[in-house]
Symmetry: C2
DNA sequence: TTGAAAGCGCTACCAG
DNA sequence: CTGGTAGCGCTTTCAA
């Protein structure tokens, strides 16, 4: 930077302005500095800029696993809005291990990121305090309800699952099955599912808990329905906490010659792009994975004054998408 | 840092050592400094550390789209090895737009990342030069063949697709269809597919090009096979450049009552976890998406002396996985 | 519109 | 094993 300042006959302060606030520099200086910079092949050191300017232009996001379609959709949304505004995305995965979360957050805070996007609401008191203490904007996602650490965008997992249960009940099903992961969000969905069933005066659902979202969810779903049906042959409908599991169920039914939805109705959750293409087309609960990401980014950039200020809490809702499978 | 140095009665240099090279600090000092740090709730500023130490502990990766299962697998592998070694991952997407690539790379170089992982080999001369000039380790992935900018891990798309063609030919198919994206890797696969067919003295394949990998590939695959079959009813086998497209083909056949593989054989590419679960189970070409990521990370950390040094070029190969669909 | 200079918080080198 | 100190490359007042 010093070199280019000397060559262009200006001070390094001016060079800095050329890159950061070109509007305050005279057109002539602007051009000459840019020319020299290009000649030197100069690339501004953003690390130094971050330190001096006390802003990193980096937003960090933490998801359980990036290989899960739903979270990669959210990350895609986040990444889109961030990059449109000159921000970068630092990505961390917890692989559903709570201890990883604290470690990741500490690292990211140490990196002085300009914002933090988390999956789920942080329960750990100490961690919440540390996050708050850092003063950086945080948005928690994919949940609603209890008090967030800072900002929140998502939907009610309970309500969404209850709506699914009600759909099944409305169709006359009396004996319901539930196949879901062990993570917090799946548990919330189980709660909602149970409540709706109880409210309708029906018998408790038959529950199968499986490992949390993974690339092999399809396989897991197939195994789960096999086990469930073996133990409870009376089940007439199965609700799955994600579409990949539901797809596994559909496939297993096809293999066993179980007609869907006549013998067994099946519902998914998320409304992934494949849901509509399956045969039979999957009835599912639509939630806005991608929009969660874009809104999270907007909330953070809103706080920084880069975009219009957003409310601190956003309920994106859900809707039951009725197709052929239930 | 100054505060905690004063409180602990040591110099800031010692405080720095406590966090970076604890092994050279006496146990007593170590403990007292750590205690004070904890009391103050001190989080080391990694940005300052990066600037002073001339290393960022960040590796950047660029993929076309993160929502594609294959790339998210690679990113997962990368992320795993990186985080095991105290490195963070900065993620960028090009959405298949070449101009985005240069912009992203410039930003990442400006960030002085410790390594760069790219999808595909960089063709732009000027860009290659800029990357090389930065001196940071770069690994290009998902291709093989032409000379990489620096390091390379992948497989031959041509050879892999040729193997698929040979498999189909061996099964007696004479009229082959190809459904693939418009990106470079799909084009390479088409080349290989064509060569093998030509070598066998068969007629040119019937080709359908579709938009590059997207969450809606399944839908795209269904549409493509419908169009292809309408125009060329004689096709007895279809090779798809990814499993999601193949899944769409399978589903469309099911919808139309076309028996697979008897009336139409179908092959995929990638061997995603779902491939084995489909009905009929998908015959596909297995490539190591996850391993590409782990090896890329190892190559970079090998260069930095963090891990054992790796060769600059790694061919992960491929294999035809014969299941039911072809 | 531009320049001078004071740091940003930390690392690494050199002594001791 | 520990301390002193010179930067790392840039941003940002404050003045001119």
């Amino acid at each position: 930077m010093e070199d280019i300042a000397r060559e262009a006959g200006v001070s390094i302060a001016t060079v800095s302005r050329v890159f950061n606030q070109p509007e305050v520099v005279s057109p002539a200086t602007l051009e000459s500095v840019r020319k020299v910079a290009a000649k030197f092949g100069y690339t501004p050191n953003l690390t130094a800029g971050s330190l001096a300017g006390n802003r990193s232009k980096i937003v960090a996001a933490i998801v359980p696993v990036i290989t899960s379609s739903i979270f990669s959709e959210t990350i895609d949304g986040l990444s889109t809005v961030l990059s449109e505004n000159g921000y970068q995305l630092l990505l961390g995965q917890t692989w559903y291990r709570e201890d990883r979360l604290a470690a990741l957050i500490d690292t990211f805070l140490g990196r002085r990121v300009d914002g933090l996007v988390l999956t789920g609401i942080t329960r750990d008191k100490a961690l919440r305090k540390r996050i708050r203490g850092s003063g950086i904007p945080v948005v928690e996602t994919w949940e609603l309800g209890r008090s967030p650490t800072d900002m929140l965008v998502g939907f009610s997992n309970q309500d969404a699952a209850a709506a699914a249960a009600r759909h099944l009940i409305d169709r006359g099903h009396k004996s319901l099955g539930f196949i879901g992961g062990m993570d917090i969000r799946s548990t919330e969905r189980l709660d909602g599912f149970r409540s709706a069933i109880e409210a309708a005066g029906l018998r408790e659902p038959r529950v199968a808990r499986v490992p949390s979202p993974s690339p092999s969810s399809v396989l897991v779903g197939a195994e789960a329905i096999r086990a469930l049906l073996a133990q409870f042959p009376d089940i007439s409908a199965a609700f799955c906490t994600n579409d990949m599991i539901a797809m596994g169920v559909l496939l297993e039914c096809q293999r066993q010659g179980i007609p869907v939805p006549h013998k067994l109705a099946v519902m998914g959750f998320s409304d992934l792009p494949i849901a509509a293409s399956l045969v039979p087309a999957l009835t599912t609960v639509q939630v806005s994975a991608h929009a969660i990401g874009t809104h999270a980014a907007q909330m953070i950039l809103g706080r920084k004054g880069i975009l219009e200020r957003q409310p601190n809490r956003l309920d994106l809702g859900y809707s039951v998408v009725v197709r052929e499978s239930a």
